[in-house]
């Protein structure tokens, strides 16, 4: 980033890991309060708060506790289930949801490291999904070859879309935020258009859906029919390792980080910033494109207009939460996968609107983006470096802060 703009990304990255964790805790506490506030039993109990105050508190506690318990059952381990399969199914669902999110987030993270605020994972994912779908249902090949082609196609699609941004940015200096946001719209409308033409539309259908991709183009299920978890998860894990190696061990990774910290200094030091900017966006797009294949060829089997769901945007949050570090992104993606999986169960089991999950996710971003806020909520004091506190003390602080609210 240029010296005259002290970068937003830099500030985010500079805040300590403990802030990330505390941001999650704070978001859950606020989320719990919101769940209680929107709960019918709680609101009806508040009308006679002074007659029987404990009713309100009990109802509020029940609403929040039940919702979060349902979320846990849906995301990690279903202790209510009768069979072993049903017990561990939530965990596999979490991993399934995390799969596309993981690679898309890695893409956003790589761009962050190059000082590029990549809002375009959504569009890159859509391009990847279109390539993957088209290859998936038009070609007729044997299994590993076909799947491999699909993955390469999704990488190519995403890389094109990301690379285009990198090229325009490096060539003309146009701002990547504007470019990626606009290209998201282009991608979405292109998808909607192609789904209504014979290129991608299912023959005989009047609805905007693509044909089903061939079985040979699907990621095989890892744990059998009972679970949706597919090979794409392992591919995503491999991609994480690759990105870690790229960023920490390779020359290109070093150059990306150098350009990200100070573009001018990097250029003065002899780094080809044009090449690095384009390549960073190509890699970012490729990773997001892979998420498209994970969606279509992992779980959905066919393409619809909402194939990307909100993955491209969640990816930004995940990359922030993971501090643009591949390992951090990995765990952040798992957390968000758990949110998605648990949110479904929470909605079904307790009637808590799934939008609460979105609120919690958004609050996490808010708290991460404002480290001083989190520090003051948890009484951590401003910045620069206290000795690390003992975990027990931290928990106590968190608990009291929660109680005040």
């Amino acid at each position: 980033m240029s010296p005259e703009t002290p970068s937003f990304i830099d500030r985010l990255r500079a805040s300590g890991a403990v802030v990330s964790v505390l941001a999650i805790v704070a978001a859950f506490i606020v989320g719990g309060i919101l769940i209680a506030a929107t709960d019918e039993k709680t609101t009806s109990a508040t009308t006679y708060f002074f007659a029987r105050p404990l009713d309100t508190l009990a109802a509020a506690w029940n609403a929040a506790a039940n919702s979060y318990a349902a979320m846990f059952r849906g995301a990690v381990f279903n202790y209510d289930a009768s069979t072993f399969t049903a017990m561990i199914k939530p965990l596999t669902e979490t991993l399934t949801y995390a799969t596309p999110l993981l690679t898309a987030s890695l893409g956003v993270a790589v761009a962050f490291r190059a000082g590029l605020f990549n809002i375009g994972a959504q569009g890159q994912l859509i391009l990847g999904a279109m390539f993957a779908t088209w290859i998936g249902f038009t070609l007729d090949l044997a299994w590993p070859v076909h799947l491999l082609l699909v993955i390469l196609g999704s990488i190519l699609g995403g890389a094109l879309w990301g690379g285009l941004v990198g090229w325009i940015k490096a060539r003309t200096g146009a701002h990547e935020v504007i470019l990626t946001i606009m290209l998201n719209y282009v991608a979405l409308n292109l998808l909607a258009y192609l789904l209504n033409t014979p290129v991608l539309q299912r023959p005989g259908s009047t609805n905007p859906v693509s044909p089903q991709v061939n079985g040979s183009a699907m990621y095989p299920e890892l744990l059998g029919d009972e679970f949706r978890l597919h090979l794409g998860f392992l591919v995503a894990v491999a991609a994480t390792a690759l990105v870690w190696w790229l960023m920490n061990r390779s020359t290109l990774g070093f150059e990306i980080k150098a350009v990200g910290s100070n573009r001018h200094a990097a250029r003065t030091a002899g780094i080809n910033t044009f090449k690095v900017t384009v390549l960073a966006m190509v890699i970012a797009g490729a990773l997001a494109g892979m998420a498209g294949a994970a969606q279509v060829n992992g779980t959905e089997r066919f393409l619809t207009e909402s194939v990307a769901a909100s993955i491209g945007f969640d990816a930004i949050t995940v990359a922030l939460l993971g501090r643009s570090n591949p390992i951090g992104v990995f765990f952040a993606a798992l957390l968000f996968g758990a949110f998605r999986a648990g949110g479904v169960t929470m909605q079904v089991a307790t009637g808590t609107p799934i939008d609460i999950v979105l609120v919690v996710q958004s609050l996490i971003v808010l708290f991460i983006a404002a480290p001083p806020l989190v520090r003051s909520i948890f009484g951590l004091g401003q910045r620069k470096k206290r000795k690390p506190r003992t975990p027990g003390r931290d928990a106590a602080v968190a608990a009291t802060a929660g109680g005040d609210k």
Partner: protein, 353 residues
């Protein structure tokens, strides 16, 4: 400076006191007695519904079907569970969650679920499935589909529109050229023809081959509606899902007080934005009622796998009341409509001509 600060603080305090007292007042109600509730006695039966991306407040089939679920909750005392899908990728997991949550019946509405319900029904024979407004060639034992013969009701709406029209021109347009759309349009046209035949009138139907091309192009749909109004058409029936709203907007914005819309699927008087001043009547699929009936059947152990088709006879389709437009319609119209309805039920009139 000091002064203004003080004022600020005192108003702040006043506001706080006001707010607090409001809170205290609302919180002063007396606690309810334990037990005892007004609704129907709860029974051990869980009816569930999963929405598509539209959500339960989509103003269309999700919302209408959902009302059937709520009716079952209050009248039959069944337990309910519901899940909204934020995107199409959520629909499968939501249906699976419902199965796992022990639902006795799972309702889905609309074409977006595709083969999902039928696959789920085959995998879970213990759970019954109801699919609204979508059909399959073969139904598993535990599935019931609800579809609607909309041409019958559209016929009555066409007759009404012809009777209402002051300019002698009515119009219709569709979202796409598919049977579920064109059935409305043909029925509507036949109804107008019937009116001409019986009354010796010459009401024209415009737009029988006008299609937006999709169900999302609001600009084009509104243009079509405005073109109609500019060429002296004074009743429009849009058969284009959410695009119907554009016709209501065009009618409400037009200078001619007499312009009106025939809404489709739900009662436009309630569902359309500004529908109370624009909607003459509506060609309704009674989705709420038929969902309720399906749940009731299952509660009474009478669930049968069938492809139900709503007709005038079983009240699965119908036209909505005329509300404010009642006074502007010719006397005796209701009697004529009732007679036509009888004839359609008896098979003496084919609403598709």
């Amino acid at each position: 400076m000091k002064n203004s600060l003080r004022i600020k603080r005192s108003t702040g305090a006043a506001a706080a006191i006001l707010g607090a007292s409001a809170l205290v007042l609302t919180a002063c109600g007396s606690a309810p007695e334990e037990g005892g509730s007004g609704a129907a006695e709860e029974i051990d039966y869980t009816a569930c519904m999963v929405s598509d991306e539209g959500g339960f407040d989509d103003g269309s089939f999700n919302q209408a079907s959902h009302e059937g679920l709520l009716q079952a909750e209050s009248e039959l005392g069944v337990q309910t569970r519901e899940a909204e899908s934020n995107s199409s990728t959520d629909m499968g997991p939501n249906v699976n969650q419902m199965v796992d949550a022990g639902c006795d019946m799972i309702v889905t509405a609309g074409f977006k679920f595709e083969d999902l319900p039928v696959d789920a029904a085959e995998a879970n024979p213990e759970t019954n499935f109801v699919v609204v407004d979508y059909g399959y060639e073969e139904l598993p034992e535990n599935m019931r589909t609800l579809n609607y013969n909309t041409a019958e009701a559209a016929y009555l709406a066409g007759y009404t529109a012809a009777a209402y029209s002051k300019t002698g021109k009515v119009g219709t347009f569709g979202g796409g050229e598919i049977p579920t759309v064109t059935d409305f349009m043909f029925g509507f046209e036949q109804g107008v023809m019937k009116y001409n035949e019986d009354k010796g009138a010459e009401v024209e139907v415009e737009g029988m081959d006008t299609f937006v091309g999709d169900f999302s192009n609001t600009v084009k749909a509104k243009q079509i509606s405005e073109n109609f109004l500019n060429s002296d058409v004074d009743v429009i029936m849009p058969v284009a899902g959410p695009l119907g709203q554009t016709a209501v907007d065009a009618v409400n914005e037009s200078a001619n007080e007499d312009d009106a819309v025939v809404w489709v699927d739900t009662d436009g008087h309630e569902y359309a934005n500004g529908g109370d001043t624009a909607v003459l009547t509506s060609v309704m699929k009674n989705m709420g009622l038929t969902v309720f009936e399906s749940i009731e059947m299952d509660v009474n152990d009478e669930f049968a796998s069938e492809a139900y088709v709503g007709t005038l006879e079983n009240e699965g389709v119908g036209i909505a009341p005329f509300y404010e437009f009642e006074s502007e319609l010719p006397d005796g119209l209701q009697g004529e409509l009732d007679a036509l309805k009888e004839q359609i039920i008896a098979g003496e009139i084919d609403p598709l001509g």
